[in-house]
């Protein structure tokens, strides 16, 4: 379901910076359905990848074979990302807060962490430079606190200052795709608000899974379920071994 919803965020012809896991599945689903001209770019240096098998990592050899270009990582970050060529970046995180700031670094204090997470990887710069980002994360009060323990990837506000004033070129996390609802950034305040509910989910349920008083958008829509074709593609073609689809 999350993969289908994330795939809908992508328009044909866009250039997408693909992360591993669900975003990877979502991008490949979009590519074989409504967005055949999607350009998939992986931070490993593969541009225009057409993987024959579902890549297990963003450095999978299947991303190289048959791709349009392979370049060094200095080019990926300088000539493509910093150059402003990425339309959409996908991000995930252990924590996402009220303003879309994401933490993938530590739970607890940095110097003496309770849980040490992997760190930024390319997430910090994707959050800053992609024209927009889409965040994918499962809802829970622990994952959606009012404020993250550590800002790895900046959202819409930092210490009360808006991202544009901080000099960030991209628009930031415009949508957060969860397993129960879609949140969207309020255009003025930059705060995440409820935009649409999955079938059978109530607003109260979503609000209970979020660590701040979640506002509702003007028109809280209802998310269409995946089509039969989407499900078949995901289960039989894209991820038959259920590497990413668990349930």
């Amino acid at each position: 379901m999350m993969a289908t919803v994330a795939a809908r965020e992508l328009a044909d012809g866009e250039v997408v910076f693909v992360g591993i896991g669900l975003p990877n599945l979502a991008c490949n689903l979009a590519r074989v359905t409504h967005a055949p001209n999607l350009v998939l770019i992986y931070e490993s240096g593969a541009v225009g990848a057409v993987p024959e098998r579902l890549p297990v990592s963003i450095g999978d050899p299947a991303l190289v074979t048959g791709s349009l270009m392979v370049c060094g990582m200095a080019d990926v970050f300088q000539l493509i990302l910093q150059n402003g060529r990425i339309d959409v970046g996908f991000l995930g995180g252990a924590q996402v807060d009220r303003y879309g700031n994401i933490n993938t670094t530590v739970i607890g204090p940095y110097e003496r962490p309770r849980v040490r997470l992997p760190g930024s990887g390319g997430a910090a710069e994707i959050a800053i430079h992609a024209r927009r980002t889409v965040v994918v994360s499962k809802l829970s009060p622990r994952a959606f606190p009012e404020q993250v323990d550590f800002v790895t990837s900046p959202g819409h506000r930092s210490g009360g200052v808006r991202r544009a004033e901080l000099g960030m070129p991209g628009a930031g996390p415009v949508r957060v795709i969860t397993d129960k609802a879609i949140l969207a950034a309020d255009a003025v305040a930059g705060e995440l608000i409820l935009a649409a509910l999955y079938p059978g989910v109530t607003a109260a349920e979503v609000k209970a899974s979020v660590g701040w008083p979640l506002e509702s958008g003007r028109d809280v829509g209802c998310v269409d379920p995946p089509t039969a074709r989407d499900l078949e593609l995901l289960r039989c073609v894209l991820d038959p071994k259920k590497l990413y689809l668990r349930g």
Binding site: I20, G21, E43, S44, G45, A46, V56, S57, I58, G59, D60, P61, V64, T65, G66, V70, C71, G72, M73, A74, F77, Q78, L81, Q82, N101, T105, Y110, R112, P113, R114, V115, R116, P118, G119, S120, G121, G122, A123, A124, E125, I128, H129, F150, V151, T152, S153, P154, G155, S158, V161, R163, L166, G167, M168, P169, L243
Partner: protein, 304 residues
């Protein structure tokens, strides 16, 4: 140049060029990570190393577990596609003796550190880090003011490893090295480094290199040692030679969670073998399972 051979065994290369206390880089983004070199460094008991790499991966997890490392310089420390690096986590969360010292960037920051080192500039500018907590965690992330626009830009300092180990598909005996598929920051890391060890799947004649010079990523003039070590990147992969051993990456989650099991792994597959050939002998069937299929490109004309 044909008579300048730098060919030596992995044992000799590590003995000569990797010293206690060095800053060591074994680079390769998923692709061409030289596990064979990491294992030899463990076997020779190097300590007090500063290990630098974008993605520490399983090899640095093993080196941390083996007690080689004092400090880690990195940007993403996980088991890609699987989960955590547990030896790393124990060392950082303070559950396993003295805390591992960390110096943490993002990928772009690490790439920029290697770029500065390779260009022998003291810093590299990048538009990054506004709104993040990374500069708070790492005082080496600073700013510079543009002399044209007046705007502040982030900077990172040059990284100059004492030794960089690059795994590659092929090189000649003088160290002229060709890589295809993902090239990561291998070139920048090699040029930034005081010493360079190249480890290859295939040793080729100089004429093979000269037949396609645009494929050369690292020139022999900056290389100190060439080691022929087929399968030296396993469980990482070498495009055109063998696939990534994803099963081992998954198994590492279980092995690395338990310090005892990790120790047994090192005893058997690192300390228990003298070199990579013996390591491969302990894994019958592996080579057959991971052998690459043929997807050969055609050549281009270099004539005039």
């Amino acid at each position: 140049m044909s008579d300048v051979s730098k060919l030596m065994s992995m044992r000799d290369a590590v003995a000569r060029f990797v010293h206690d206390g060095d800053t060591v880089v074994i680079e390769g983004f998923t692709h061409l990570i030289c596990f064979a070199a990491g294992h030899e460094i463990i076997r020779q008991g190097r300590t007090n190393l500063t290990l630098a790499r974008l993605t520490p991966d399983l090899i640095y997890d093993q080196m941390i577990a083996a007690g080689c490392a004092r400090k880690l310089v990195f940007s993403w420390a996980g088991n890609p596609g699987v989960g955590s690096l547990h030896a790393f986590r124990r060392a950082v969360e303070g559950r396993d003796g003295p805390r591992l010292e960390l110096e943490e960037y993002s990928h772009f920051g690490m790439v920029a550190r290697f770029a500065a080192g390779a260009a022998r500039l003291p810093f590299w500018p990048l538009r990054n880090y506004m709104g993040t907590d990374l500069p708070r965690a790492n005082p080496y992330i600073r700013t510079v003011t543009c002399p044209y626009t007046g705007e502040p830009l982030a900077t990172v300092p040059a990284l100059h490893p004492d030794v960089t180990i690059v795994h590659a598909q092929r090189a000649d005996a003088a160290g002229n090295t060709q890589i295809w598929g993902l090239v990561g920051v291998q070139k920048e890391a090699a040029f930034a480094s005081r010493r360079v060890i190249v480890v290859v799947e295939e040793l080729v004649d100089e004429s093979v290199i000269r037949s396609d010079p645009n494929r050369t990523l690292i020139p022999g003039m900056i290389v100190d040692a060439v080691v022929l070590e087929p399968w030296g990147a396993h469980p990482s992969y070498a495009q055109g030679y063998y696939d990534r051993d994803n099963d081992f990456y998954v198994a590492w989650e279980r092995i690395s969670r338990d310090p005892g099991e990790l120790r047994r792994y090192l005893d058997e597959f690192v300390h228990g073998v003298p070199d990579r050939a013996a390591y491969m002998e302990k894994r019958p069937g592996l080579a057959t399972r991971l052998q690459a299929k043929q997807r050969r490109s055609s050549g281009v004309n270099y004539g005039f």
